[in-house]
């Protein structure tokens, strides 16, 4: 497999993480809002996203493994440029996991309510940190970084603004996506409230996607042509988000547009980033011999993982019922 193949694998892993873990990132902040003060209701909301936790977060771990083996220089550059963002990502991730696993282990209401607040904060910080890191990648692996270093005012403004924009987009996207997952799996009494939250989040998500598209246009104008692709993608996703809001306002909630708006928004930051940074990242891939030697073990493993995950999704992802296992 050549550098392009490895880059596509990396993008696929990140997109998988964005969709699967995005459900958790967006669902957990709804625990208090949708679940109210009743512990059983809160745990029901948690149960809707619980299966995505173990199945989802490994995609980012695997992506980090591919980054390390095939794009070590990319990792080095990105971590150096966004050192504290990476630390923030790790802290948010670890705290989110701890909050989810530990909150229901002890019966004390104070313990549980405390962890719910912590989990909510960490679940917002996690996509924010990931989105910001994606923005740092936009800057470092396009013409923006060198031009900002050279003193260009426009480039410096973009270097500051892009990570903020992509962070906001990732948070809004997770909110829509997670809310739709909760709405699809929870009993109707809770689903209704989750849908209300999704409806409210769709317009900000569309606006942030539009702004990110403008940012991508600016990057393209400065000289990285591949950012044009990102701009087009982001505009399309913004359109889908607005169409989904239109459908929800009409009361038709089972349309393809509504269903696909969550996953599309969730992968938007990843796909847009892949378009912007793709050419520069490909140029920094590991030597062909290294890539070639690892091809079959990694592709074989990926095939096995896809099979195992496909079986797991079939078993686990269905509306909550009497055979659902509640643990979180």
């Amino acid at each position: 497999m050549n550098a392009l193949g490895w880059a596509l694998l990396l993008a696929a892993l990140l997109a998988g993480w964005a969709v699967l873990d995005g459900a958790v990132q967006g669902g957990v902040p709804l625990v208090r809002a949708v679940g109210g003060t009743d512990d059983a209701r809160r745990r029901t909301v948690l149960a809707t996203v619980a299966p995505f936790l173990l199945l989802g977060e490994v995609w980012l771990v695997a992506a980090a493994g591919v980054l390390l083996a095939a794009f070590g220089h990319v990792e080095g550059t990105l971590w150096a440029a966004g050192y504290l963002v990476v630390v923030a990502l790790l802290v948010a991730w670890v705290v989110r996991d701890a909050a989810l696993w530990l909150r229901s282990r002890l019966p004390s209401p104070r313990w549980r309510r405390g962890w719910d607040v912590v989990g909510q904060a960490a679940s917002l910080a996690l996509p924010a940190a990931f989105g910001a890191l994606a923005g740092v990648a936009w800057v470092r692996f396009s013409v923006v970084g060198p031009q900002a270093d050279a003193g260009s005012g426009v480039a410096q403004a973009l270097a500051l603004g892009l990570p903020v924009l992509t962070a906001g987009l990732a948070v809004a996207a997770a909110r829509v996506h997670g809310g739709l997952v909760v709405a699809a799996r929870a009993p109707e009494a809770l689903a209704h409230e989750a849908r209300r939250r999704v409806r409210r989040a769709l317009v900000p998500a569309a606006a942030l996607a539009g702004l990110a598209a403008l940012g991508a246009l600016a990057v393209a104008a400065l000289g990285t042509a591949s950012a044009l692709v990102a701009a087009v993608l982001l505009v399309a996703v913004a359109g889908v988000a607005l169409a989904a809001r239109f459908d929800l306002d009409r009361g038709t909630r089972r349309t393809g547009v509504v269903r696909s708006s969550g996953p599309l928004l969730a992968v938007a930051p990843v796909v847009a980033t892949a378009a912007v940074v793709g050419p520069a990242v490909l140029a920094l891939a590991a030597p062909a011999a290294v890539l070639h030697a690892l091809t079959w073990p990694v592709l074989g493993a990926f095939a096995a993982v896809l099979a195992a995950q496909a079986v797991s999704w079939r078993v686990l992802v269905r509306p909550l019922g009497p055979r659902t296992a509640v643990f979180l």
């Binding site: 679940g35 009494a189 195992a308």
Partner: protein, 438 residues
């Protein structure tokens, strides 16, 4: 503190924390798998119920431990790129290979199967559910082995060549059969089995020391003492498995430990004193655990162990509980000896640690040291205290493998859940049972 010191201290503290969780994951995993297999194949209903309870109890402790283990592992994975990019620049082509296999093949599957095991509890057929956990155990061990291949390369670099200052794999088989990977992995497996066993034995002994050996009702009726409380049965079984696993673990850890000296002798420079102390402690703990384990195993036939003279038995149970942390502390010492013994090299004879660290400012590295280590250690301590609470609570009110309505009402008996969020009782029932009963 320089950036190099901060980076090394950060790595040491985070890896040490991670290692403590790994010990339980790898040590308890096979035990839970065996308990569940025996539950799945049990013909007698009473025996099946006991084994189910044992599986759920130890499985729940396994999960609470795993939760933080996975988190600490994620932090570890990004540590290398964050603080030691030189390692990847020089040896990424060699060192990265086992790590990408670890994440793509081993850990990816491990986490997927664990998710299937926890959340597919009532959906999967019993055999598939049992197979899912065995898959978790196998991939977990594969994961540990690939990490040891990477670590073994640092200690004893083989199967590579340097081209323009960058290492390249020339012999993948040599990399895998490197004694610093193979023998050391066996040594670590022994240590993990010991740690899991001390947990099993310590917790079981704590409960056996407190529990009456016979049902109170049976005693009151003046009946002969053959009837045992079901919970007691769980602890006796756990104690038996723990003693067997611990003795095997001590044997493997000690044997593989001595075998490691074959390649450790090659390291040219003198070792700092802590390494020598660690060797002595490890030998002492390993041998003592093996001998005592053998003696206690000999007391198992006919349940002699559980029928010892009461003061002696109580003292024995108390001692076994107090000894619970010993393998964990010993393993930490052993890990420190391995890493310190390699210094000043990051890759023995190839790359010095000071040349591998990032050129991030000392302030940035110290900030991440304080933040990451602070968060990780706090969460670890909270996690261990929760595990201690769950271990003491015993087999009552287990969340793992319980019906949803039962789990969702778990707070009701101890803590009032307050208002029901304005829901009518019927509405509440519909939410609690997800619209049906099993």
């Amino acid at each position: 503190m320089t950036a190099v010191d901060a980076a090394r201290l950060q790595f040491a503290l985070l890896a040490g924390t991670h290692f403590l969780f790994v010990l339980v994951t790898l040590g308890l995993g096979p035990v839970v798998a065996i308990l569940q297999t025996r539950w799945a194949t049990a013909r007698d209903a009473g025996r099946a119920a006991t084994l189910e309870t044992a599986t759920r109890f130890w499985g729940q402790l396994y999960l609470v431990n795993y939760a933080l283990g996975i988190a600490a592992g994620i932090v570890m994975e990004l540590q290398l790129g964050l603080n030691f990019p030189g390692l990847l620049d020089v040896a990424g082509g060699v060192f990265g290979a086992p790590l990408v296999i670890e994440t793509m093949a081993a850990f990816f599957l491990e986490s997927t199967f664990l998710g299937l095991w926890v959340f597919g509890w009532h959906v999967l057929p019993r055999w598939a559910h049992t197979a899912a956990f065995w898959a978790v155990v196998v991939t977990g061990y594969l994961s540990a082995f690939t990490v040891m291949v990477a670590n073994g390369f640092l200690r004893n670099p083989v199967g590579y060549e340097m081209v323009d200052g960058v290492a390249r794999v020339t012999d993948a088989a040599a990399l895998i059969t490197n004694p610093a990977a193979l023998v050391s992995a066996l040594h670590v497996v022994g240590a993990c089995l010991m740690a899991g066993a001390f947990l099993l034995v310590g917790v079981s002994a704590w409960h056996l020391r407190r529990a009456p050996s016979r049902l109170p009702g049976v005693v009151a009726a003046g009946l002969p003492g053959a009837v045992m409380s079901p919970e007691n049965d769980v602890w006796r079984r756990s104690m038996r498995i723990g003693l067997a696993a611990g003795t095997v673990g001590a044997f493997v850890a000690t044997g593989a430990g001595y075998a490691q000296f074959a390649y450790l002798q090659d390291v040219p420079h003198g070792d700092p004193p802590v390494v020598g102390i660690a060797y002595v402690v490890m030998q002492g703990v390993g041998l003592l655990a093996f001998v005592v384990g053998c003696v206690l195993l000999l007391l198992l036939p006919g349940n002699v162990l559980f029928r010892l003279w009461r003061p002696l038995r109580t003292a024995l149970y108390g001692t076994l509980t107090v000894l619970l942390p010993v393998p964990f502390l010993t393993a930490l010492l052993g890990w420190a000896a391995r890493e310190i013994g390699r210094q000043p090299w990051a890759i023995a004879g190839v790359l010095r640690t000071e040349d591998a660290v990032s050129d991030a400012s000392a302030t940035a590295v110290i900030t991440s040291l304080v933040v990451l280590v602070g968060v990780m250690l706090t969460l670890a301590v909270v996690d261990w205290s929760v595990m201690a609470r769950l271990a003491r609570r015993g087999t009552t009110r287990l969340a793992l493998g319980a019906a949803p309505a039962h789990v969702l009402r778990d707070g009701d008996d101890e803590a009032s859940t307050g208002s029901t969020g304005g829901a009518t009782p019927a509405d509440q029932d519909q939410i609690l049972t997800f619209g049906g009963t099993r």
